[in-house]
Symmetry: C2
Subunit: 226 residues, 2 copies
């Protein structure tokens, strides 16, 4: 019944326009009563985004369980974790490309839907930020870092998601989003582990004009050789 | 007249609540006609945020003039420029702390106003992102970088702005926002210029186990000495 309501709603939105379609029109086409509609959807906007509430709940659960199943209790690396959480949203869009592309076009045309979408994006961003704030609770500037990273993750995700939607859902959504999230992770995640143990590498920085004996002396001292 | 309408509106919003106040109530208290109200404000929401349109226009002008007055044509360093653009928003809030704090409390309570605020924040973010997209047009991942930095700047600005509003407008708003924006600039801006010219520094990375003669040979080659 829920799927039938969504299908009827979209058929009418595309035929008549979003503003010109009433809930009564939708339930008439779907052959159900008004009460059935409101059992599933609090408002007409919600039928356009039928899966965000579930996805938000999934994301919160995903972030909350972090650390719980972890023997060490330290949880996952936080930036990686919020990137993985953002992928849950992408998965929801990619489950049904035709529907997602149709909705993208509709949302671009209807200011009320754009406003609704902004409020949903804001809730995702807050979920990520709250998780990061807890993880960075004992860092100086922890809330600032948390808010900035959450915003960066959402912006990167949406940059890739929108490219994919503009391509009419052709292209590899997963690869596009991975690439965008990797950009954020490379900035804020821990540096990639070096291929060899750091103790094995000596870095010498020297002024080009320095005499060679001074450079060699510096290296000897650093290497711990006479 | 415009200021009188804003003052009357806020007095009624605080006394009766936002939803319970009509435009007719506002114009009656201000002693003007409905048409005067709608000459200044397209809707009741707009009277809550009377200065955002002006501020958005100022920001766009500020970003557009970048490079125009610059003999070299290269314009300013882009991340510094968007941080400076964000400070225009802060200045608008800081011009009238009592009003900004009042509005912050009102907006937290009224979902319709939160939605309006999100759409305004989105427009600021897009203005910053469009500027950065143009500046990064010939970089790989230019739009990704632009969107992520714009989001990071807005998140940092709002983190500091909200702290200041929660402190009831006490505290140094400018210093708080400067600190937050510096966090973003340190991440995405150009690295601080080195004290000496880069050509003057040689970096040698060597495995600790490498024989000393090999290291010296490497340095000699790099320094361009026999």
């Amino acid at each position: 019944m829920r799927d039938a309501l969504v299908a009827a709603a979209f058929r009418l939105f595309l035929e008549r326009g979003y503003e010109q379609t009433t809930v009564d029109d939708i339930v008439a086409l779907a052959g159900v009563g008004r009460r059935s509609f409101f059992r599933y959807f609090p408002s007409k906007e919600d039928v356009v985004f039928p899966d965000h509430e579930r996805c938000l709940a999934d994301m919160t659960a995903f972030l909350t369980e972090d650390g719980v199943n972890d023997a060490g209790g330290a949880g996952h690396e936080p930036v990686r974790r919020v990137c993985d959480a953002a992928r849950l949203v992408l998965r929801m869009y990619a489950e049904n490309p035709a529907f997602s592309v149709q909705r993208y076009r509709l949302t671009k045309r209807v200011p009320g839907l754009r406003a609704y979408e902004l409020s949903v994006v804001w809730r995702y961003e807050r979920a990520l930020a709250e998780y990061l704030r807890a993880r960075y609770a004992d860092r100086p500037d922890g809330t600032l870092r948390a808010d900035v990273i959450a915003a960066a993750v959402v912006a990167a995700h949406n940059n890739a998601l929108r490219s994919w939607l503009r391509s009419d859902g052709t292209g590899d959504a997963g690869a596009m989003v991975d690439h965008a999230l990797e950009y954020v992770h490379a900035t804020y995640g821990p540096a990639a582990p070096p291929a060899e143990r750091p103790e094995d590498v000596v870095v010498v920085v020297s002024r080009r004009g320095a005499p060679l004996w001074r450079v060699v002396q510096e290296i000897e001292t650093t290497l711990g050789r006479p």
